[in-house]
C-alpha cells in the first residue's frame, strides 16, 4: 500500500476516534461511539500490516503477541468488578506508558525500520520527538503503577512526603532535559538509557506524595500524560492517527483534571505538590464530645416512609461497602410508596471521574434519576430526607462558612438544607480532609453507625 493511501486511512481512523469521544455526549449515542472507536482501531492495525507488506519474517510472532495481549485484556475486561474501575484504569495507563517507552526504544535501536535515519545518525527532530515520547511514557508508567498500588490498597493511601522532595523532582526534571540535549549532540546509548531510567524515577516520586482522595486528579492527569506520550511517538513515526489520538487523549485528561480540581476548589499545583490529607493536616480543634443523635434502621425507615421526597448522596464509602445494589433496592421500596427518589453526585465523589455514576448504573439505577451537583443543589431545600451514604467532606457546610478550613470554597452539596439528614457512616471519624463535619451534631441529623451495605439492607427490610 502506498504511503499516501495509508496516511489517508490513518486520518480516517483518527476521525473515527473523534467520533468515539463525541458519542459519549449522551448515554444513548455512547455505544455507537464505542463501535466507531473499535472500527478506527481495526483500520489502523490493518493498514499498518498492509503498508509493511513484509509478512515473511516476524508476522507470526506479531500475531501471537497481539492475540496473547488481546486475550489477557478481554479476560480482565469481563472479570473486573465495577468497584475496581479506578485501579483498572490506572493499570491501563501504565501499559500505554510502557508501550510508548518500548516503541521509542525500538525506534532508537533500529531507526531504519521507521525511516528515521541510521543507528547513531538519527534525524535530530525524530530524536527529540522519541525522547519526549519515551520520557513522558516512562513517567506515565511508573506514576500509574503507584496510583494503581494506592487505589488497590496495596500501598497506603496516605501521602509520603520528605524534605526537599520538590527540589529533587525539579532537579531530576532538569536532568532529563540535559540528557536529551546531550543525546541529540552525540547520539550515545548511555544518555538514552539514563534518560529513561530517570523518567521512571520521576513518575514514582511525582505520585507518592499525593493522597488517596486526590486520586481523581491523579488518574486524569496520568490519562493526559499517556496521551502526550502517544503524540510524541506519533510525531516520531509520522503517523496521523497517533498524533490525533494523542492530542485528543491529552486534552481529555487535562479537562478531567481541571473539572476534578474545580470540584475540590484546589489548584492543580496544590494537588500535584501533594501532602494534603495526611496526618499533619488533620488538626482537630476541640476534642470535646458534642452530642450526636444516632439511630437505627427502624428510625431511618420511619423517617423515609413519611417523607415525600428523598435525595440519596453516594460517596466513596458506598463503593467500598459495595452497597450500590442495596441502595437501589431501598430506592425501589421508596418509589413503591410513592416517594420521589433522586441521586446527587458530587464531581469528586469516589476515586475517579464518574465513579459513582458507573456504580449506580451497574445497580440498574436509571441514569435520569442521577443528577450532577449544579442540577440538584437547589432541590435540597424542598426535600424531606437527604440520605448520605459513604460521603462526608462533600457535604460539609464548613466549606462555606469557615475560611480557615482546608476545604473552604469547595462547592458542596447543600444537604443541610433538607428537613432531615441521615448519615450512614461507620464512625464519627473525620473524612479525608481530616476535619470534623458539623452536620453530624445538628438537631435534624440522624447518624446511622454501621456498615453502609448492612444498614441499607436493614432499612429495606423495615420499609418492606
Amino acid at each position: 500500500m502506498s504511503a499516501n493511501l495509508s496516511a489517508i486511512f490513518y486520518l480516517i481512523s483518527g476521525v473515527l476516534f473523534i467520533l468515539a469521544l463525541r458519542g459519549l455526549s449522551s448515554p444513548g449515542t455512547s455505544r455507537r461511539g464505542n463501535l466507531f472507536g473499535i472500527l478506527g482501531m481495526l483500520i489502523a492495525i490493518t493498514v499498518t500490516f498492509l503498508s509493511i507488506g513484509n509478512f515473511s519474517s516476524g508476522f507470526i510472532y506479531v500475531l501471537i503477541f497481539l492475540l496473547a495481549g488481546g486475550s489477557v485484556g478481554a479476560f480482565i475486561a469481563y472479570k473486573i468488578p465495577m468497584t475496581a474501575m479506578p485501579e483498572l484504569v490506572a493499570g491501563f495507563h501504565s501499559l500505554v506508558g510502557l508501550a510508548a517507552v518500548f516503541v521509542a526504544i525500538s525506534a532508537f535501536l533500529n531507526p531504519l525500520a521507521f525511516n528515521l535515519g541510521l543507528p547513531g545518525d538519527i534525524k535530530l527532530s525524530s530524536l527529540i520527538e522519541m525522547s519526549i515520547g519515551a520520557a513522558v511514557g516512562a513517567i506515565t508508567f511508573s506514576g500509574s503503577i503507584i496510583a494503581f498500588l494506592k487505589l488497590r490498597g496495596i500501598m497506603s493511601g496516605s501521602p509520603i512526603t520528605f524534605k526537599g522532595q520538590h527540589y529533587i523532582n525539579l532537579l531530576l526534571g532538569l536532568t532529563i532535559i540535559v540528557l536529551i540535549f546531550y543525546l541529540c549532540k552525540n547520539q550515545s546509548d548511555s544518555f538514552f538509557w539514563s534518560m529513561i531510567a530517570i523518567s521512571f524515577l520521576v513518575g514514582l516520586l511525582l505520585i507518592i506524595p499525593i493522597g488517596g482522595a486526590d486520586m481523581p486528579v491523579v488518574i486524569s492527569m496520568l490519562n493526559s500524560y499517556s496521551g502526550w506520550a502517544a503524540a510524541g511517538i506519533g510525531f516520531t513515526l509520522e503517523n496521523t492517527a497517533l498524533i490525533i489520538t494523542g492530542a485528543l487523549v491529552g486534552s481529555s485528561g487535562a479537562i478531567l483534571s481541571y473539572i476534578m480540581c474545580k470540584g475540590m476548589n484546589r489548584s492543580f499545583f496544590s494537588v500535584i505538590l501533594g501532602g494534603f490529607g495526611g496526618t499533619n493536616s488533620a488538626q482537630q480543634k476541640d476534642k470535646t464530645k458534642k452530642p450526636v443523635k444516632s439511630g437505627n434502621s427502624e428510625d431511618a425507615a420511619f423517617l423515609m416512609k413519611n417523607a415525600s421526597s428523598v435525595i440519596i448522596v453516594p460517596g466513596y464509602g458506598m463503593a467500598v461497602a459495595q452497597a450500590q445494589h442495596a441502595v437501589r433496592e431501598m430506592a425501589d421500596c421508596l418509589k413503591k410508596n410513592g416517594i420521589k427518589v433522586s441521586y446527587a453526585v458530587h464531581p469528586v465523589a469516589g476515586r475517579m471521574p464518574g465513579h459513582m455514576n458507573v456504580l449506580l448504573a451497574e445497580a440498574n439505577v436509571p441514569y435520569d434519576e442521577v443528577f450532577e451537583q449544579e442540577n440538584i443543589n437547589n432541590d435540597f431545600a424542598s426535600t424531606d430526607v437527604a440520605f448520605i451514604i459513604g460521603a462526608n467532606d462533600v457535604t460539609n457546610p464548613v466549606a462555606k462558612t469557615d475560611p480557615q478550613s482546608p476545604i473552604y470554597g469547595m462547592p458542596i452539596l447543600d444537604v443541610e438544607k433538607s428537613k432531615s439528614v441521615l448519615f450512614v457512616k461507620r464512625s464519627l471519624s473525620p473524612g479525608y480532609a481530616g476535619i470534623d463535619n458539623e452536620l453530624f451534631y445538628r438537631d435534624n441529623t440522624l447518624m446511622l453507625f454501621a456498615d453502609a451495605k448492612k444498614m441499607t439492607e436493614e432499612i429495606v427490610k423495615n420499609l418492606g
Binding site: 468515539a20 455526549s25 483498572l88 508501550a99 516503541v103 525500538s106
Partner: protein, 102 residues
C-alpha cells in the same frame, strides 16, 4: 520555499487538541469513567509503531533487541485495546434506558 512536513503534523496536532477540547467538554459527566477507559483504548493505537518494530528486519534477525521490544509493546498495547474497548462496552451497556419500573 517548501514547507517542512513537520509543520503539517504540528498543525494536525494543534487542531486535534482543540477538537479534543470541545468534544470532551460536551461529554456528559456521568460518562466520565467510560471516557477514561475509551481514551485508554484509543491511545493504544501506539500499537502501529509496535507492529512496525516487530516486523522490521529480515528472517535471520527477527529476534533483534528492537524486535523484542516491539513484540512486548504489541502485547501491552493489545491488552489495552481489547481490555479498554470491552470494559467500556460493558459499562455503557449498563447505561441502557430502563423502561420497566417494577
Amino acid at each position: 520555499m517548501e514547507i517542512d512536513p513537520f509543520i503539517f503534523r504540528l498543525s494536525i496536532f494543534i487542531l486535534s487538541i482543540f477538537v479534543g477540547y470541545y468534544v470532551v467538554w460536551s461529554v456528559t459527566p456521568s460518562l466520565h469513567t467510560p471516557l477514561m477507559s475509551v481514551t485508554n483504548a484509543i491511545s493504544s493505537v501506539i500499537i502501529v509503531g509496535a507492529i512496525i518494530a516487530g516486523l522490521s528486519g529480515n528472517i535471520e534477525s527477527i529476534f533483534d533487541t528492537s524486535n523484542i521490544f516491539g513484540f512486548l509493546a504489541i502485547f501491552l498495547a493489545a491488552i489495552n485495546i481489547f481490555g479498554g474497548f470491552l470494559v467500556t462496552q460493558r459499562m455503557l451497556q449498563m447505561y441502557k434506558k430502563k423502561k420497566k419500573n417494577k
